[in-house]
């Protein structure tokens, strides 16, 4: 469409605005599609998180934590792949400068995905997933990113992880070796915190929730400590004695 630089008749104006309409409609439709995909991602991610919790609390004889963690992560892998392919599907809608435009519509799902992914990663490796690793999970086979991961999404996704870790620690505490697990999570979360505290101001609200989660984990670790200090035996041996009593 070639038009004069100034629009001097109703017809040229209408032609130009017709073009604007197409552009706006395109934009709105794309936004809608991305919002829908983001909701799908959110739902699948929540299911992954439940699956991980479920696997970690299954009664499977004497399986140790490492084994359980690997099993949980490998069970989650399929669903995580599914989510990744949803992101792959959004790729054309998010190419070039579009990602920055639609980021806020994609963020809710993306953050929930990072929460799920980092939880699986923690259970398998007892470590925090790095920015690089998250970005790598959102690349095609050639290692080209579907879109550039924003720092904000990475950090906000991780903030939510603490909530899940708190749930994990509290659910584990009444199981064999729970004390150790509560302590591990406690140190892990503190470490994450201490790493970030000096840098961030804007994450405040989320960090308040993280702080509450940390306090809950600390309270759980405390409860075990207080109770075992009353007896003069190593805590593993105490666990065995209790198990003996409770065995059906």
């Amino acid at each position: 469409m070639t038009l004069p630089p100034t629009l001097n008749s109703r017809d040229t104006i209408l032609a130009v605005f017709d073009h604007f309409r197409e552009e706006l409609d395109d934009h709105n439709d794309r936004r809608e599609r991305l919002i829908k995909s983001s909701r799908d991602v959110t739902n699948l991610s929540k299911k992954v998180i439940f699956l991980l919790h479920r696997t970690m609390t299954e009664d499977v004889g004497e399986a140790d934590d490492r084994t359980l963690g690997s099993r949980a992560a490998s069970r989650a892998r399929g669903k995580l792949k599914e989510i990744q392919s949803l992101f792959a599907g959004m790729r054309p809608e998010l190419s070039g400068d579009r990602y920055a435009r639609y980021q806020r519509n994609v963020s809710p799902g993306l953050q929930e995905y990072i929460e799920a992914l980092s939880f699986a990663h923690y259970l398998e490796h007892r470590a925090l997933i790095s920015y690089e690793e998250v970005q790598r999970s959102l690349c095609d086979d050639d290692g080209t990113p579907y879109f550039p991961l924003s720092l904000e999404d990475y950090l906000l996704g991780l903030s939510d992880l603490t909530g899940e870790l708190m749930r994990f620690a509290i659910a584990s505490i009444s199981r064999r070796g729970g004390r150790q697990k509560a302590n591990d999570v406690c140190h892990f979360v503190r470490d994450y915190f201490e790493g970030l505290t000096p840098y961030f101001r804007d994450l405040r609200k989320k960090q308040a929730v993280t702080g509450q989660s940390l306090e809950k984990i600390e309270d759980a670790a405390y409860a075990v400590a207080v109770r075992t200090s009353e007896f003069d035996l190593p805590s593993e041996m105490l666990d065995d004695l209790v198990a003996q009593m409770v065995s059906r």
Binding site: K46, K47, F50, H53, R54, T57, E58, D59, R167, I170, A171, I173, S174, A220, A223, R227, E230, F231, D232, L233, L238, L241, V242, Q244, M245, V246, R248
Partner: protein, 224 residues
């Protein structure tokens, strides 16, 4: 607005108001019943196990009387409108579910299933589009049951019963395993499910205290 349309609107409105009023009346009654029931069952915390069945006998007729509410509601709610009205009575209903499952646990040590609770409370399958026992209400009731059992574990030890906490521990762990099968949304149920973990922790602590005091005499000595 043309008068035919207005009339239609008006009659629909009036019908709704009437239904709401009638349900409210039933709910007031239902609420009284479940409060009495919960009041009676609150006494389990100071009742020795041998006298428990007497207590249950007292509660039974109150529980049975809830069937009247169920039937009355089934009469009031129009076909297909179960979900429109259920929030009005679900608090009371969850109390009733809690009471029924607590009584069964105290009686047989097992978990009353959803259909069994529904039957106990007098729900008829043919009413299912008007009044029925929804899964979420059953689950809420069961969570309240676990909350109460963690309190019972503590109090039964005070009363000298060291077996109850161990029984409760096994029972509650099974229920928890059940709950962890579910994919929950971020709603009340999720929040209450999270709180279950604290109940289990408390119960485990009691079991721990009791077991070690029985099996680790050396520990015992130190503690005294």
């Amino acid at each position: 607005m043309d008068s035919q349309n207005l009339e239609r609107i008006n009659s629909m409105l009036d019908a709704e108001v009437e239904i709401r009023e009638k349900i409210k009346e039933q709910v007031t009654e239902f609420d009284k019943r479940t409060r009495t029931l919960v009041g009676i069952l609150n006494r389990i915390h100071s009742t020795r196990s041998e006298k428990m069945s007497t207590l249950l006998d007292q509660a039974r007729p109150v529980l049975d009387s809830c069937r009247e509410t169920t039937a009355a509601l089934a009469d009031i709610v129009p076909p297909d409108q179960f979900w429109k009205w259920k929030d009005m009575w679900s608090l009371s209903l969850r109390s009733a579910v809690f009471s029924a499952t607590l009584m069964e646990y105290l009686n047989s040590g097992t978990l009353l299933s959803l259909p069994a609770v529904a039957e106990t409370l007098g729900f008829k399958p043919e009413w299912k589009d008007r009044v029925t026992l929804a899964v979420e209400d059953y689950l809420h009731g069961v969570i309240t049951l676990v909350n109460e059992l963690s309190r019972l574990a503590v109090n039964s030890v005070t009363l000298g019963d060291f077996e109850q906490p161990i029984k409760i521990s096994l029972f509650v762990k099974d229920i928890f395993a059940g709950f962890s099968m579910l994919n929950l949304k971020n709603d009340t149920l999720r929040r209450r499910y999270d709180s279950l973990k604290y109940d289990i922790k408390k119960i485990e602590e009691v079991v721990y205290d009791v077991s070690l005091r029985k099996l680790a005499p050396s520990a015992q000595e130190k503690a005294e």
